[in-house]
Amino acid sequence: MSEQERREPAVGATAREPDEAITFGQEAAGPSVGERIRGGREAAGLSAADLAQPLNLDLKVIECIERDELDAVPGRPYILAYLRAWAGQLGLDGDELIAQYNAQRAPDNGAVQGGIHPTLDVMEPRGGGSGRRLLGWLGILIVIAIVVLALSRLDADRVQAWWSDLQGETTEPSTNSDSVPVDEERSGDERPAIEGALDEPPAPPTEAPSSTEGAADETSAGAAEGISLALPAERLAAIGAATEEREPVESESSPSVGEGENEPNADESTSSAADKPPALLLRATGADSWVEVRDGNGERLMYDVLAAGEEREFADATGPFSLVLGQPEGLEVEYQGEPVELGESSGDTGVLRTTVGNS
């Protein structure tokens, strides 16, 4: 009683009489939330304490709400619960009261608009990352795919020729630098030089004889002869030219090539390497032919199309060689320099399967 008496004047002093308040409120949008609660409470003959006690609330909360000082009271979720409880106690429509409160005060989105930044554990996929990192990986994959595609479309023979040329270019400077013994240089460098000559067009006829008849030493001549077993005559000239070009360098760096007496070991190894014909040589004379070659160990040496006019030799391979020839009519096969008679191909497929060097 005393508490109520103490507080009632305060409420009355700041608020208008209920009738006035309703009149004032109707000019705008009806009585305010605070006015409706106060009106309902007084109509029910209850004090502010009667509303506060069931909710364990402080009286000042009810006073503030009745004065529509909504900023001075706890936040929206609390007020909504208070209003709903009081609406039930005073016989008011709780939903309507809350709707009016919402209209009176813009929805409090403070939780989002404010500054909340609660602690978050951010976890990402294993091995993954941000979108940027994923896009980066995707880009790398695309580039790799393009490179692989481009390489796969290149002719394998051209790649091989390019590789051989590259090897020739990289070893020639070392030959000129005079530190490499001739026998080693020759045995390692001769084959690329020959292959390079094979790839080049035939030398002009005016140069070929002179170079062939020139100062080629015995070793070089022997090598040329050995190879001539398997090469056509016009290419032999080119080979001669290649050896001619290399001769001064060899004689400068080490004259022992022509003077084999001083270094019999080098001479023997050089001549034996040069005299030895390739273990197997395949030459497509008529038309393109598909060829598969396996050596004595069953290892596949070739699995490719031999274009017309092209030949392939296997110098260091060991026989017996197992051959599968797609079009044997246009192929010539030599084993250790000796031509090999090919048998009849299969009537159905035209493919010839044979073994060479099976002595």
Partner: protein
């Protein structure tokens, strides 16, 4: 959380899904791309119900966290998810068993949880051209260990999420309830879920005190089952217990006495019998789990710094979660603590909505507000 009500009704799964443990290695590479066609999700991965909130759409999925597994010749396949699976609980033949992949708020069966999440995430995305890969914020109990959090994280990422955020449930619940968590004032939130009840004191965007008790809606159901068996000698199922709790369950003695007719199996006779329960009996049955929750709140108040305690005394305690829908629970806590207690609006969805607001905030702040790691 048996007190939760269904909100969204969506299509049932069209057929059994093979239960496989296979994970694609290159899948993460394309998550970023698939993310363009995905919507960010806030998931309240509850013991009883799973809720998914989408910004601008609200709660788009609310289904029980139940999966029905069928043993198909030695291979386990998933028969049904969510509502459909829950209808099977207690009514399955030997070859089918309905399981809850989460227990006490944490993952009990990793792979079933993963499949269930995958299904739910796919369900809330309308596009069928790309498998969705959203950013997902998951709410975890504050009492979850690092291992349990990692299990949830792995499960979410394995379900297709391209990024997983983890937030503690009291914080999400407070934000979802509309509490100004950034203010330098203390607020207490009690989130009563299906498996756990979380108590958190929050101020200045941080959790000052938190505790978690493994009491929730499930414990309420178990208490009702035990009470009926003890006093009536009748065995009732979980679904019946949940219905009793929803219809006449109460945490505080009320003016009116409500009654409900239920059927159960008489343990002595072995035949089904019908009987009537009233709200006072259920109130008695719920005393033990309710006492546990009240004790947790009292313990939190004891541990709260005095300044924050004064703020809580001014404003009150906010109840969220499906358990807050138990009739007069606020009165019980109010009576036991002497403090104002309010039930949040839509308490069932507070956690999911709070997570959604945080997710929106990440976008609004262009990710500068939160550290990535």
């Amino acid at each position: 959380m048996p007190l939760r009500r269904g909100i969204a009704t969506m299509d049932r799964p069209t057929g059994p899904t093979t239960y496989s443990r296979h994970h694609s290695v290159i899948t993460p590479m394309f998550k970023g791309f698939r993310g363009i066609f995905s919507t960010d999700l806030s998931i309240d991965l509850g013991t009883a119900n799973t809720l998914i909130y989408v910004s601008g759409k609200g709660i788009v999925l609310d289904e029980p966290s139940v999966v029905a597994l069928r043993n198909d010749g030695g291979q386990t396949v998933i028969q049904a998810y969510g509502n459909e699976a829950k209808q099977m609980v207690g009514r399955t033949p030997k070859s089918i068993h309905a399981v809850r992949p989460l227990r006490d708020g944490v993952i009990a069966d990793f792979h079933v949880t993963e499949k269930m999440l995958q299904h739910f995430i796919k369900k809330v995305h309308s596009s069928h051209w790309f498998r969705p890969s959203p950013r997902v914020l998951v709410c975890v109990p504050v009492g979850a260990t690092q291992v349990e959090r990692r299990a949830i994280r792995e499960s979410v990422l394995s379900a297709g999420a391209r990024r997983a955020f983890i937030i503690e449930e009291p914080m999400a619940a407070a934000i979802g309830a509309g509490v100004d968590v950034d203010e330098p004032r203390g607020s207490m939130v009690v989130d009563i879920g299906g498996g756990t009840s979380e108590v958190g004191v929050i101020s200045l965007d941080g959790i000052v005190y938190s505790s978690s008790v493994r009491i929730g809606g499930d414990k309420f159901d178990e208490s009702i089952i035990a009470f009926v068996r003890r006093h009536y000698g009748i065995l009732i199922g979980e679904a019946t217990a949940e219905r009793i709790k929803k219809e006449i369950g109460s945490a505080y003695p009320g003016k009116e006495l409500r009654e409900i007719d239920v059927k159960g199996r008489n343990l002595a006779e072995g035949v089904p019998r019908s009987f009537t329960l009233n709200s006072n009996e259920i109130l008695e049955a719920l005393q033990e789990p309710l006492f546990g929750i009240v004790q947790a709140v009292r313990a939190a108040l004891e541990q709260t710094p005095p300044e924050l305690g004064a703020d809580i005394a001014d404003r009150g305690i906010v109840l969220t979660g499906g358990g807050a829908l138990l009739r007069d629970l606020d009165k019980l806590v109010m009576e036991e603590t002497g403090l104002p207690v309010v039930v949040a609006e839509n308490p069932l969805t507070c956690v999911a909505r709070g997570g959604g607001k945080v997710l929106e905030l990440i976008d609004q702040r262009n990710n500068t507000l939160f550290a990535d790691e």
